[in-house]
């Protein structure tokens, strides 16, 4: 599936919750539990994404021209956010990852996680995924 198609799928999935933020966050927490976990050997200092109150480790790999991510975090809501990002970007080409705007975050009402005062570092996370893709496209 294309990035935009997966984004639409997620927007639809979250639209079921309407204004019910508790269910939405419960879902996010469940997603966190399903995160493709990073191999312990990649849980090293240079794979920690800085700027997070919670720690996030992320590892990326290039396979057959597509980029794949694994990650972990010590905070479960952060993990849910990472899981969403990975679901959208996993198995895409570096070029598509670099170019995508990831508008779904806004549309599913988790925009607050993009604000610079939010200590979970979603912005740093996105930057990291894009920077890794830039490296792979060289």
């Amino acid at each position: 599936m294309k990035i935009s198609e997966i984004e639409n799928e997620i927007v639809e999935e979250f639209s079921l919750f309407g204004d019910d933020w508790e269910s939405k966050y419960e879902h996010l927490i469940d997603l966190g539990k399903s995160l493709p976990l990073i191999d312990e050997k990649y849980k090293i200092e240079e794979n920690i994404i800085k700027g997070c109150q919670s720690r996030v480790w992320m590892h990326s790999e290039l396979k057959d021209g597509k980029v794949y991510f694994t990650a972990d975090s010590d905070a479960i809501i952060t993990k849910g956010m990472v899981a969403l990002m990975i679901r959208v970007l996993n198995g895409q080409t570096a070029k598509d990852i670099i170019e995508t705007k990831l508008e779904f975050i806004n549309k599913i009402g988790l925009k607050e996680h993009l604000s610079p005062t939010r200590a979970n570092g979603l912005v740093s996370m996105i930057n990291r995924m894009k920077m890794d893709s830039v490296k792979f496209s060289r």
């Binding site: 508790e22 010590d74 809501i77």
Partner: protein
């Protein structure tokens, strides 16, 4: 008894809703909300009195200067200091930097801090120690967040030039018995300069710098219902001449030539440039506001809030409170077993409850407990028992969602 209903009407921001819930503001340790008296003082100043001070011959400048110096008197009396001992700064951090940058020592001197200190009471001393080849020493704490005072006599020696201690821990709320500590230090070394970081005590406790007998006492306006960008550096009269100038400029002199400058005496010497005039005037409005309510009454009420909140937290088995006792200002730091503070804080925010999560600029203290952070709820005079119920209910729901 405090009339909390009336007090709440003095703080317009408390009418705000967050995520469709009434705002429950429990991040007062970071900064307090401002009463109308303070907000109006700023508006009034710019509407009617704005002029530069200590400079003009004209009426407006005279009026502004008078208000500014009146404010110095008001704030000085609030902590039982003389106005000639009170320097206005931009905040606690600025005040501590003025002290640390204004003192120099011979090699191998020692500066004594505690495990509880805020980074703002560590880093300026670290820089000072690097410059002077001095050593930082640290008073350790007990598990309950109290200082290991039995170690004081091993830590204060002839080499100890400065002891800089927080009055109230911003992370734990623990109140240090600084009066006894100061008198103990005086006995061990009468030349040691004693700095008290009052950032978290001034909003909650009656302060009398003469009675305490400290050499320096510092605090921030914004944590005591006053505006940001205001702070105080109290310097005891007879140590004024030990503090060297680390910054200088206009408004601080008698005469200047390229060869030699003669400075004015007293606090103005340490206030170069145009100060935060409206801020200082509004800070004095904050002091008057606190006085109108009564700091002792505020302290007592906040203590009741603390006791109530801690007893409610004790009913939640997953909650672990640090410094779980009542010899504290109205601050509670806690964690939920197996949960990250960030997750708990994020969900509480959704319920409209503003708490702080993280290391609270006290990483050495976090290292002591071997944790990355805590959830901190800190109260002010306008908080209520009902708000604590909302917080506890939200916390219970958050724990359920997370586990």
């Amino acid at each position: 008894m405090l009339d909390i209903k009336a007090i709440r009407t003095h703080f317009p921001i408390l009418q705000k809703t967050v995520n469709n819930n009434p705002l429950v503001y429990f991040d007062n340790g970071a900064t307090t909300q401002k009463p109308l008296a303070v907000i109006n003082a700023i508006t009034e100043y710019y509407t009617k009195q704005n002029a530069n001070i200590h400079r003009g011959v004209h009426a407006l400048s005279r009026e502004a200067t008078e208000l500014f110096e009146e404010a110095r008197k008001t704030v000085a009396h609030f902590i039982n200091a003389e106005e000639s001992e009170l320097i206005f700064t931009s905040g606690t951090t600025h005040s501590i930097n003025l002290i640390a940058n204004g003192l120099s020592f011979e090699k191998d001197s020692e500066i004594l801090l505690t495990q509880l200190e805020h980074h703002s009471n560590i880093l300026p001393w670290q820089l000072n120690a690097q410059k002077n080849n001095a050593k930082l020493k640290v008073v350790p704490i007990h598990e309950d967040g109290t200082l290991q005072l039995e170690n004081l006599k091993n830590l204060v020696s002839k080499k100890t030039k400065v002891v800089s201690i927080t009055h109230v821990s911003n992370t734990l709320g623990v109140i240090n018995p600084i009066k006894e500590i100061i008198s103990e230090i005086r006995k061990l070394n009468s030349n040691t300069l004693i700095v008290i970081d009052g950032a978290q005590s001034v909003p909650h406790l009656k302060i009398d710098v003469k009675d305490l007998d400290c050499d320096f006492f510092v605090f921030s306006g914004h944590k005591m219902y006053g505006p940001t960008g205001t702070g105080v550096l109290y310097v005891k009269k007879n140590v004024f001449n030990q503090l060297q100038l680390s910054a200088s400029g206009g408004g601080t002199i008698k005469t200047v030539s390229f060869e030699k400058t003669e400075y004015v005496d007293g606090p103005l010497k340490f206030e170069p440039g145009t100060p935060n005039i409206e801020g200082v005037i509004a800070l004095s409005a904050a002091v008057k506001y606190i006085d109108s309510i009564g700091i002792e009454k505020i302290a007592q009420y906040e203590h009741e809030l603390l006791g109530y909140a801690q007893s409610k937290l004790a009913e939640i088995p997953e909650v672990e409170v640090y410094a779980n006792h009542l010899n504290k200002a109205a601050v509670i730091s806690f964690n939920v077993k197996n949960q990250h503070p960030f997750d708990v804080g994020t969900l509480l925010d959704k319920y409209g409850v503003a708490v702080r999560t993280g290391h609270h600029c006290t990483q050495p203290l976090m290292n002591y407990y071997n944790i990355s952070g805590t959830i901190r709820a800190s109260f002010a005079m306008y908080n209520t028992f009902e708000e604590i119920d909302v917080f506890i209910l939200g916390l219970k729901k958050a724990i359920k969602m997370l586990s």
